[in-house]
């Protein structure tokens, strides 16, 4: 039976939630499924690599990254065509190689490249924005051994915002699910 370090259940303080460590991906996935089935939805799992099936276990919807990629790509295509048309036909109209001023076909390569560029911007910056990154600090980093999460640690957090969250019950519950090093994390 581990004691609750840092912050006792009776102490009043703004809590981020509870953090527990699990032995491996299977145990973590199992615990997440059970907690989700119990009605906890403000859960998160932390692992050094993506775990197969975790998305469904957490009840995550399809990622919105593809929408941002599409938006980026459409913007890039429109931007490149407009830019080339404006500069070639309006700003600096100069006939070269007997081609029309607005030679759409010759503008295709640059349009293609710009489409890819902005779609990739959509993927990278969209992913970071959806994840709320970059971020200098996060409460889970207070976890005693949370630094292991990027090496071989598998952690589960239950946020205090969850309507079912009870700081007295959650520790026992996480331990019953097989969690070790269970701790309450200050915000």
């Amino acid at each position: 039976m581990s004691t609750i370090p840092a912050l006792g259940p009776d102490r009043v303080g703004p809590l981020y939630g509870a953090l527990a460590r699990f032995a491996g991906p299977v145990e973590l996935l199992d615990a997440v499924r059970r907690l989700h089935a119990l009605g906890y939805h403000r859960l998160d799992a932390y692992s050094p690599f993506p775990i197969h099936g975790m998305d469904q276990a957490l009840g995550l919807k399809r990622s919105k990254v593809p929408v941002l990629v599409l938006a980026g790509g459409l913007f890039g295509a429109a931007f490149a065509q407009t830019l080339q048309w404006y500069q070639s036909a309006i700003a600096y109209p100069l006939i070269t190689a007997g081609k029309p001023l607005n030679s759409t076909e010759a503008f295709v390569p640059i349009t293609f490249e710009t489409t890819i560029l902005y779609a990739a911007f959509g993927a990278v910056f969209g992913m970071l924005a959806l994840n709320g990154l970059p971020r200098l600090y996060h409460p889970v980093f207070r976890g005693k051994s949370f630094a292991r999460a990027s090496t071989d640690g598998f952690f589960l957090s239950v946020e205090a915002r969850d309507p079912l969250f009870d700081r007295r019950e959650i520790v026992a519950l996480l331990e019953a699910l097989g969690g070790t090093e269970v701790e309450l994390i200050e915000r």
Partner: protein, 467 residues
């Protein structure tokens, strides 16, 4: 599901050799970055850095003196720098093949190689960009390629293949950098969490962007990675296609050909794979990564080299055939001149290195013996550089107008600039090996059997893990 299960029991050899778990993998890969550099690294850095400095000195020299220090002339206006530019851009393509195309094809063996291959891409693009910049002659006009509004009101000609080339290379460099960096984020977080000194914590902390391995983050991250792979795949094909347009949209005999785009793309991947082998065969031993980059990984690349070698062999043949069958006397002369003219020895070297020598990989011994494949890869590197030289020089030096025919003879400045480029590339690569994780840790960990809940013994039969 069933394919997966089969591969576990009697399928291909394991992706990683040795008894590794998540912790030992981290120790192995991060150890190289965290422990003091070993002697081999300092020696290699001293040698490569010397050549890199030489390249920098030559760059300053050519900028100060002008292009006259090179062997180019009115007839052969594209000499070593453009041949070398195409060479380096081509090298980069294998990095994108390994990181993007093989990812889409779910080739899991790529995860041991992709980080290093992407770094190779990035540094190759840096080298390639350097050569076109200095080849401009008036380097202060480089910004003319940018469609920037200025008081001169002059804009780039977007109908020119050179404008396309600028867009392609700039996009390729940017997307490769982002792809590489996105892959690095989880591993930078690992280095941050292991850092002991305040400086390392700060630097890696900032670089890792606050990554905490949350499943909600992985969810978006994996999708973004898939999207980037799907974007980089057509991009990499388009980049060398557009590089080939620099040649193919002209009317020079030997260049004005529709086979150029696919031929260039195949050649690019071919040369890049050879460069990956050139780098990985020594590094896997020196860094102690023999268990991560196994003979099996190298063998797979050798097989890809045979495939691409056959493709470019076919392209060489088709070029000859269309010159003969097309009935254009200028085209026919160009190809006859290419084979038996003054640069015939370059053509012979190109055929030997690119088409004949790689056929040794049909024999298992050559595919599984690192030093042998290293030697063959060096030949391929040489052959592919000569291919670009043959394309540039033989077509230009004798075109339609015999009175303007002229030979191209490289000068000492040409040679030193070429060597300096290799110095810059290898220096950048050595710095990468020393300061960043060379193996994509999070991906390799995910490919361990212990990482997949479906293979672990305690799977719950509730069907939630089924896709």
């Amino acid at each position: 599901m069933s394919i997966q299960a089969e591969s576990v029991t009697n399928g291909p050899p394991p992706l990683i050799e040795g008894d590794h778990d998540f912790c030992s993998l981290t120790e192995l890969v991060c150890g190289l970055v965290e422990q003091p550099a070993r002697a081999w690294w300092w020696i290699a850095l001293a040698i490569c850095g010397t050549f890199g400095v030489l390249g920098a000195v030559m760059t300053v020299y050519v900028i100060l003196m002008g292009l006259g220090v090179w062997g180019m002339n009115q007839t052969v206006g594209w000499g070593f720098p453009i041949a070398t530019f195409v060479f380096w851009i081509g090298i980069g393509h294998a990095g994108t093949l390994i990181s993007a195309i093989l990812y889409l094809f779910r080739q899991k063996w790529r995860s041991s190689l992709n980080r290093a291959a992407e770094a190779m891409t990035l540094f190759a693009v840096v080298c390639a960009g350097g050569y076109v910049m200095i080849h401009l002659g008036r380097i202060y006009t480089a910004w003319f390629m940018m469609p920037a509004p200025t008081t001169t009101a002059i804009y780039p000609n977007f109908r020119s293949a050179l404008s396309w080339d600028f867009a392609a290379i700039a996009t390729y460099g940017t997307v490769s950098l982002m792809f590489w960096y996105v892959g690095l984020i989880p591993d930078l977080a690992t280095l941050r969490d292991r850092a002991r000194s305040r400086l390392r914590q700060r630097v890696f902390g900032l670089l890792a962007l606050g990554w905490r391995g949350s499943a909600r983050h992985w969810h978006n991250y994996e999708m973004a990675y898939l999207m980037l792979a799907a974007l980089a795949t057509p991009l990499v094909v388009s980049v060398h296609t557009i590089v080939s347009f620099d040649f193919a949209t002209s009317v020079i005999p030997g260049w004005h050909s529709t086979i150029f785009p696919p031929y260039f793309v195949a050649g690019a991947i071919f040369s890049g794979l050879a460069m990956v082998i050139t780098l990985m065969v020594p590094l896997r031993v020196l860094c102690g990564f023999k268990g991560l980059i196994t003979i099996h990984h190298l063998e797979n690349m050798c097989k890809l080299i045979i495939a691409t070698s056959l493709l470019i062999g076919y392209a060489y043949g088709v070029e000859m055939f269309s010159a003969w069958y097309g009935g254009n006397i200028y085209e026919q002369y160009t190809f006859r001149n290419r084979v038996i003219g003054p640069y015939g020895w370059c053509f012979g070297l190109m055929i030997a290195c690119n088409v004949l020598i790689p056929q040794l990989f049909w024999f298992r011994w050559f595919r599984t013996t690192p030093w042998a494949m290293f030697v063959i890869a060096i030949f391929v590197n040489i052959g592919m550089w000569f291919e670009r030289f043959v394309i540039v020089a033989t077509s230009l030096h004798r075109d339609y107008f015999p009175s303007s025919w002229k030979m191209f003879y490289p000068t000492w400045a040409d040679y030193l600039q070429l060597v300096g480029g290799f110095g810059l590339f290898s220096t950048l690569f050595l710095l990468f090996v020393r300061f960043l994780p060379m193996i994509a840790l999070s991906e390799v960990k995910a490919s361990l059997p212990a990482a997949d809940p479906r293979h672990a013994p305690r799977v719950q039969g509730d069907g939630m893990e089924e896709r």
